[in-house]
């Protein structure tokens, strides 16, 4: 269990994180979304023990991560801006990782090198941006960490490679209970892989939930009524969002499929249809319910 407890971070006078709290269960894939400058990278760097929070603390199963090599041996931070040894090759980097991470698997490294089709003896500086990203990912996966912190990891990867990486992550979660925290500002990217999601905005977590629960508990309803709905009827529907165009009503309603269906049948519409929401739509409606204009938060 990763416990982020009231973490604050300042860059001089600029506030980057302001009392962020969250709990992330072992073996989960946590999507951390937020706009540019919302504090995602800062939070990840605190989570991997690079930055020391100005306030609050981060605990992994009750143990603080800062200056804790034993704990850090099981955490790997995959930066959006990868560092490679000057004039270093993939093999050089592997040697450094092998010297640093006790779980580094040479066998897995060789397997992933073959899978990604990278030349381990070629200087990493001569790799394209996407190939460098692949190299960083395969090194991270070869280290077999228990916690993988990914910062904009899918940026720069082609669609095929993106799917491969997602699969590799999913395999690691399934096989050895990897906990992954993936920071991104692309909700669609996270939807496929994350089971939890949190929205970071202006240094604070606005919202955090399990994706399945989110999806199960909110639906869009399209219905046609042959009469005007009274305010009392609308209230019983409990619509988060309600739009009417002629006789067609579109509403976002909180509740499971069965609950929403029951509510709709009670209103006796001429026709109705229940549609699941995309993650982006869920976020927009959730944020709007909290009084935020989500289009300004998520790019």
């Amino acid at each position: 269990m990763i416990k982020i407890k009231n973490v604050s971070k300042y860059y001089g006078a600029v506030k980057s994180l302001d009392g962020v709290s969250a709990e992330i269960g072992n073996g989960s894939v946590f999507g951390l979304v937020g706009s540019n400058g919302s504090g995602k990278s800062t939070l990840l760097r605190i989570l991997c023990g690079v930055f020391r929070p100005d306030g609050g603390e981060v605990f992994y199963d009750g143990v603080s991560v800062y200056e804790n090599p034993r704990l850090k041996d099981e955490i790997l931070y995959l930066s959006d801006d990868q560092f490679f040894l000057p004039s270093g090759t993939l093999s050089d980097m592997a040697a450094l990782f092998a010297a640093s991470y006790s779980h580094f698997s040479r066998e897995k490294f060789d397997r992933l090198v073959a899978l990604f089709g990278l030349d381990p003896q070629r200087k990493l500086q001569t790799f394209s941006k996407g190939m460098q990203k692949q190299a960083a990912i395969l090194l991270a996966l070869s280290a077999e960490p228990k916690v993988l912190l990914c910062d904009e990891t899918f940026d720069g990867l082609d669609p095929v490679m993106r799917q491969t990486v997602k699969k590799l992550l999913a395999d690691a979660v399934a096989e050895r209970g990897l906990t992954a925290i993936i920071a991104s500002h692309n909700l669609r990217e996270l939807e496929d892989i994350c089971d939890h999601i949190g929205l970071l905005h202006k240094g604070g977590i606005l919202f955090e939930s399990e994706i399945d629960a989110l999806k199960e508990n909110i639906h869009t309803v399209q219905a046609v009524f042959d009469r005007e709905l009274s305010p009392e009827e609308l209230k019983t529907l409990g619509a988060v969002n309600f739009k009417k165009r002629g006789s067609m009503v579109t509403a976002v309603v909180r509740g499971t499929y069965a609950e929403v269906e029951a509510k709709m049948q009670a209103l006796s519409p001429s026709f109705f249809e229940i549609i699941p929401l995309t993650l982006e739509e869920i976020f927009i409606s959730e944020m709007e319910e909290r009084g935020y204009d989500c289009t300004k938060i998520i790019l």
């Binding site: 760097r45 023990g49 690079v50 704990l71 930066s79 560092f83």
Partner: protein
């Protein structure tokens, strides 16, 4: 701490160290090339050591040249110190690498220790390879002998300490620097900051303080402690200054330890900033502002002759905006902390008033005798050591004498002497002062002989003689001041023989001896040794081969009773075809002056040629006494005489080029060569006194 414990505590991670070391190949090469080009290559270019010289001389010359070559290697060592210091901290200077390394499962001290050790091991490896090459070169020259090993060992130890200190300073600067450029710049500044600041602070005071003796405070010994840079350049060939070496090593270790402490507080998120800690940034800013203030101040004083307070203000303001711009990394931040600027400016103004302008006349303050534990005095230019006075009575007399000193910079109309005094207070720092004391000052004529009795004025001559005795066949370049001019005698004088006669005859250079005017002096300009080739009968002047020469300039007085010395020297003057008295003519006239008052507009009487000739036996040519001892000669300073000599010379009718055109040279008589004479005390003839009545 045992190695095992080190490993178990994870202070040292061997796997990380090996990995870092594996990637230091390029840096090993850099260290090797530095040694190769600064030591091995100059050794290869040694050339011939000189022919027709014996093995002993060869070894001596080789050792001497080896020491000279180490000058290059020392510079290379300093550069390597900065280079490897930068390299050690490089991993934390770039944002990407800083984040990467600090995300690794290592404690910070483990990372830093591995980086330090890998850098040092890389440097040592490169140097060892380079040294092996250098030793091979020495062996090829057949000079791999004990004396050479010893010299090599001492120099290498020196350089190791020098490297360690420079490296530690650079690493320490890296602990709070945000990038390598700033780290290197701060290191370079720090090497010279302290000695330069001390010099400037003292120079600022000396501008307006007539008595302040800056030299005492900035002795070479003291300045060597203020910077590691001078350490390897000190002469360490004979005895290794172990204590000072230990201190520098301790300083280096302390700086490394401090680096570890500071590193623990280093915020990785600040990487890329000029200075990571705001307070350290401010401290550096104000330290640089202080230096710039003094530079501005001294610049205006020395080159503009005034407006030093304006220079001070300019220095402060310009450095303030420049430092702010660099620290903030934008010109927009140039006025950040104006309050600090105002406070600092006020402090600088107080410094200017109290220290530099000396508005409270600190420079004129003389403590009472009972406030002093002892006093040390040296009469300027005597080359003697300080004479210590402990008893209260002498100290009181000295303080009275110093109180009568003139606030002049040698522009006094009265002849006198500079006296340096160090007044060691019971409480407070020693006051080092320099006074100009006219001979007419009350108690002066009692003080000087007493000083000469107490001081060992002959010590420099004895030291000189000892040095000469270490040489195998010493000869000297010689100048003799005799008969009113310099009689140059060539480089063939057996100086050891002369010194034997001289030291026997001079006895003790005490107050009685020294108060009499000397009749001549000889000046040794440089001493060289001569070598005899194996099997040859003739000695060779090694100077002809271009070296092995000690440059010494020493003036030795000769008194009238030193007949054997005078005979020795006059014999050599006779043998030198170029030697002739510069004053060849007869006295034509003289002007006698009597000093009165401070105006310098003295009453004077002109004498005829006959009167001048009659007066000459009474006069003393002060120039015959070496400059350093003139202060002690007991002269009557009431009268002095300028004598004009008529001289015959040959002049061409049509200027300098006449000879080319075949003009006939014409002898001409001149009477404009003048020399100043004095009367020894009590020898002024009544006729001279009569002239002014």
């Amino acid at each position: 701490m045992t190695a095992q414990r080190l490993f178990s505590d994870k202070w040292l991670d061997s796997r990380l160290l090996c990995n870092l070391l594996r990637r230091r190949t390029v840096h090993i090469l850099v260290a090797f090339l530095a040694v190769f080009f600064s030591l091995a290559v100059p050794l290869m270019l040694f050339g011939d050591l000189g022919f027709e010289i014996g093995m002993q001389e060869k070894i001596e010359r080789f050792v001497e040249r080896l020491s000279e070559i180490f000058g290059f290697y020392t510079v290379a060592t300093g550069a390597l110190g900065v280079y490897f210091g930068g390299l050690t901290m490089h991993y934390m200077m770039d944002k990407r690498s800083a984040v990467f390394y600090h995300a690794l499962p290592q404690k910070r001290h483990t990372l830093l220790l591995a980086s330090i050790l890998s850098a040092l091991l890389a440097k040592i490896s490169g140097v060892l390879i380079g040294l092996c090459v250098a030793i091979c070169v020495i062996a090829a020259q057949g000079m791999l002998l004990d004396a050479v090993w010893l010299t090599l060992g001492i120099h290498l130890l020196n350089n190791a300490i020098f490297f360690l200190t420079i490296y530690a300073v650079t690493v320490f600067m890296g602990s709070f620097s945000g990038n390598t450029t700033v780290q290197v710049l701060l290191s370079l500044v720090s090497f010279g900051y302290l000695p330069i600041m001390i010099l400037m602070i003292f120079a600022a005071h000396e501008i307006n303080a007539a008595h302040f003796d800056m030299e005492y405070y900035i002795s070479a010994e003291f300045m060597n402690w203020t910077t590691p840079v001078t350490w390897p350049f000190l002469p360490h060939t004979e005895v290794f200054p172990l204590w000072r070496g230990i201190v520098w090593v301790c300083v280096a270790v302390l700086l490394i330890v401090l680096t570890f402490f500071i590193y623990r507080r280093r915020k990785i998120e600040n990487t890329g900033k000029t200075v990571l800690f705001a307070r350290v940034g401010s401290l550096i800013k104000y330290l640089l502002m202080a230096a710039a203030a003094l530079v501005g101040d001294l610049f205006f004083t020395l080159f503009n002759g005034g407006f030093s307070i304006f220079g001070l203000a300019c220095g402060i303001f310009l450095s303030f905006i420049i430092c702010n711009t660099i620290l903030e990394k934008t010109p927009k931040g140039m006025f950040k902390g104006v309050k600090g600027l105002i406070v600092f400016s006020l402090a600088a103004a107080v410094f200017f008033a109290v220290w530099q302008a000396d508005i409270f006349h600190i420079d004129e303050y003389l403590p009472r005798a009972e406030q002093l534990s002892y006093a040390e005095v040296i009469v300027d230019d005597t080359s003697a050591d300080h004479v210590r006075f402990d008893d209260a009575q002498t100290i009181s007399a000295l303080l009275r004498l110093l109180g009568a000193a003139e606030n002049t910079d040698g522009a006094s109309p009265y002849p006198g002497v500079y006296v340096k005094a160090v007044l060691h207070q019971k409480f407070g720092p020693p006051l080092a002062r320099r006074y100009y004391l006219p001979y007419t000052a009350d108690g002066m004529r009692d003080f000087l002989p007493a000083y000469a009795d107490a001081a060992d004025l002959l010590a420099p001559y004895r030291k000189f003689d000892e040095r000469i005795r270490t040489l195998e066949h010493p000869y000297a370049d010689l100048e003799i001041y005799f008969d009113g001019g310099y009689n140059y005698v060539g480089n063939d004088l057996p100086i050891a023989d002369l010194m034997k006669v001289y030291l026997r005859e001079i006895g003790d250079l005490d107050g009685t001896r020294i108060s009499a005017p000397a009749v001549m002096y000889f000046s040794v300009r440089s001493v060289y040794t001569r070598a005899k080739s194996d099997g040859a009968t003739e000695y060779y002047n090694m100077y002809e081969f271009g070296d092995y020469r000690y440059y010494i300039r020493r003036q030795l007085p000769v008194y009238a009773d030193m007949t054997a010395t005078i005979e020795f020297l006059t014999e050599y003057i006779k043998n030198d075809p170029g030697a002739k008295p510069s004053r060849g003519g007869t006295p034509a006239s003289a002007v006698v002056y009597r000093t009165e008052g401070a105006s310098g507009d003295y009453p004077q009487v002109t004498l005829s040629a006959a009167q001048t000739a009659a007066l000459l036996p009474y006069l003393c040519d002060l120039d015959a006494t070496p400059y350093s001892l003139r202060a002690f000669v007991d002269l009557d300073t009431e009268y002095y005489v300028i004598v004009y000599f008529s001289e015959t010379d040959t002049e061409y009718s049509d200027g300098e080029d006449a000879e080319i055109f075949g003009d006939t040279p014409t002898p001409q008589t001149f009477s404009n060569e003048s020399y100043t004479f004095f009367f020894p005390r009590g020898s002024v003839p009544a006729s001279v006194r009569q002239l002014f009545k």
